[in-house]
Symmetry: C3
């Protein structure tokens, strides 16, 4: 694909752009500034790599509108270079093509299950009674879909995904290998010094356009539903407790865990390994730094960090203050000595 | 089910209770105070939701003996409302009914394996040589049971559970999807600058009535056994290192990890994302707050929190003190200036 | 096996040693000092257990060259007792013998896949088109190998391991149950307030002699490759982000997570539950304590600890200082009062 063609296709995809180039290179791939070679398109979206723009061997680069660039390098300027790169990768590399199983005879589909047109069901898949699967859904080998679960159109479950009975997945949901939806949450009551199981009578709902990484765990609710809102994206090994409600368009990095009955607003970002205690409320547009431990509600539009989590600036101020502590202790001791001396002198005066 | 019937059944289950109601409503489900509608039973077990008792649309509620309740709301009073709710959910909603596979012909069962009466073995299950499986065990599709493993009566393994060779599961053990028992622990010795594997020659034991969430990992021991004690409950993605011994009736929230050779007493509670370093000893009845990092033994009956973990009160005192630090630093500087001024004046006097 | 035979075999394996014993006991197993009984070999490699050497019922023990030992106990002295124990366990207990499936007819192998000699492919394995599998590889039931993936000789994948399309595993790689290699990383761009997927066009490389525990997740790169270097060992539930490069001979304890585009040098040790933020660089021979959160580069040969992580000593100094804080605050208040008193007296003088 020529750079000029790419420019045109990006334009059509809603990324208005302008090309600055003396030539019109052929582009066969996309790569990072450091790794790109001849024939590859690169990009500058993280200022940390700015210097590499001047040394790259890429044949072209996507950059911001005002970004200074070396003379010889053909650039495509755009006000959302990150989005344009995403589109360029799709245009140049394409996306994964699933194996075409149709309805593999080695899959087991219960009689009462309803499977949409164009569904692509791999071998060793198990679909239980009363399941409904939408059009053009793809289930890789080893997936299990429990009784009465409902999966929307264009759902993709990679190998060994497990959907418990009664779970509901919207359209275009993508779950990576080993992810589990709808397992029982940690619900027990102490009766005569034993943990007595509280049947988990609710279910789990994964709304449209959610994507989850590998080995995530989404508990079903004790009563009612656990929800992961439309358009939200999880990385690997994220755990969501029973009855928790995650809003739309969130972004959770790997190994983050929410306890039960948490309410999370829309557009919330959580770094990796964040933990949120039960029954809390996290407002819209909140950003929580990686490894934070949250033990209190967070109002909308705040940025929090630390364990226990505080406002972002306050956290780093505390970190800086703690670093000064050993010196502080020395100062305090010096001061105590000085005051004692003053007092002694003072007494001497009397 | 009428409220009066429920009262009777709870009584028979050991929950003595008294009903205060002008009518005897029909109950078709259990739900939270906020979500319950007509025909649903609700409950107040967490004081955080006390206000909701006055606004609920539930047809009845389980509450503590002395809990004030609105006039029109039929209530069932009980001294262990949490336990009564667990029983009520079981009575009204029932528990999961497993698909009835009997011994599915598409499961593979080695000749020397012994399978108990009434066992329910799904398709795509693999049972290796010399395995023993108890009566009425249920193995969902995709489970793997390694050579010589022993599973007790009424064990339930949800889809894609993996039990390595030689592991031992007691009766009524329940493992949710993707959980792995008996994999090799992280045992290597540095030999000539390489990590040389120490064969993991031990095994893992999961005692009676243990339940684990999805995607947990229980290492086998290097030598001897790793143990999870009877009645202990884990949420999702809990990891137990090789040779670690977890006592009876524990409760571990999701993503908690214990290194190897740890000894944990009975009735221990760990919040989510707790980490415990190797070779430590945690006493009976200990409670460890979520996200704590434990680097030293904890005596019985203590509550610990933080990373490194301290006694609960000490931890929160430290957190409060750290919050005051920036102000403290300002105070100290002011004091230094004052003392310097005093000293200067003093010198002026001489 | 007699102790004298073991001594000889260890010698041949490169562990020069000397036996101090009045008899030549038969050894049928290896066990810890506390658990060993008659006929078992034990060992002292962790000074924490030194006292147990004097009380063990073991029939012999491996110890360091200069270690004092009780009179009656036959000992085998060696300058690398840990390595010798690893070798002794292998010699006495042997290693796991995989079931011999050959090429099980219930495995699915695509026509264009090339399978090496002596490969051992269990039932319910799925091998997609253009896959290459080396000699003597063992794939347990439920493994999925995606299109074009390349696995080296003597690779072992335990049950339900998933290798995505295009991944590359070197020779002697061992992956425990439920581990996933090559799933899509968390790559999205905000376009019109939605998360638009950036196709993950790269792949994942696991070099020779890597071993991973259960339920690990290794993202494929967005572009280019994610790498886990030769000889590196992971425990369970470790997560590696897209484009991250882990060097050779590392050791990562369970539940550790690295974000994307991280570069880790050789011989790096990370404790459990460590988190490393994206785009950082960790030098050779670095040691990072358990539960640390790393937000800045770490130069070679350093030991870091804490969250945010500092140099090891600095971290513990800070922890000690924070413990003193409440007392410090009291002292400061006392000092303020004293200075105020001095100032008042001073004024009284004027």
């Amino acid at each position: 694909m020529k750079l000029s063609e790419l420019s045109l296709l990006l334009e059509r995809n809603g990324f208005s752009n302008q090309v600055e180039a003396k030539e019109d290179p052929d582009l066969v791939g996309v790569n990072t500034l450091g790794n790109a070679g001849r024939g590859e398109l690169s990009f500058l979206t993280n200022p940390k790599y700015r210097e590499q723009l001047w040394e790259t061997r890429a044949s072209a680069a996507i950059v911001e509108l005002e970004e200074p660039a070396p003379d010889g390098l053909p650039v495509l300027r755009c006000d959302n270079p990150y989005g344009a790169v995403a589109a360029a990768i799709k245009l140049i590399h394409g996306t994964r093509i699933h194996p075409a199983w149709g309805r593999d005879p080695r899959a087991i589909v219960a009689e009462s299950a309803r499977i949409g047109e164009g569904a692509n069901i791999g071998p060793y898949v198990y679909i239980d009674e009363e399941v409904v699967i939408g059009h053009h859904a793809t289930l890789y080998p080893g997936c299990y879909i429990g009784r009465g679960a409902i999966l929307g159109d264009h759902v993709t479950c990679y190998p060994n995904v497990v959907i418990y009975d009664g779970s509901r997945l919207g359209s275009r949901v993508t779950l990576h290998a080993g992810t589990v939806v709808g397992e029982d949450g940690l619900g027990y009551a102490k009766v005569n010094d034993r943990w007595e199981k509280i049947p988990q009578a609710g279910w789990a709902v994964i709304e449209d356009d959610v994507e989850m990484g590998a080995n995530c765990c989404i508990d079903r609710a004790t009563l009612g539903q656990t929800v992961v809102g439309a358009g939200t994206k999880f990385s690997d090994a994220v755990v969501i407790g029973h009855g928790t409600q995650v809003g739309k368009h969130g972004m959770f990095v790997a190994q983050t865990g929410l306890a039960g009955s948490v309410t999370v607003g829309e557009n919330v970002t959580m770094g990796g390994q964040v933990g949120v205690a039960g029954h809390l409320s996290i407002g819209d547009n909140v950003v929580i730094g990686a490894k934070s431990g949250v033990w209190s509600d967070i109002p909308a539009d705040e940025r929090y960090f630390g364990s226990p989590a505080f406002k972002w600036k306050q956290f780093w101020k505390q970190v800086a203050a703690v670093q000064k502590l050993p010196e502080l202790i020395r100062k305090l001791h010096r001061l105590e000595a000085e005051v004692a001396a003053l007092r002694k002198e003072r007494r001497g005066d009397d």
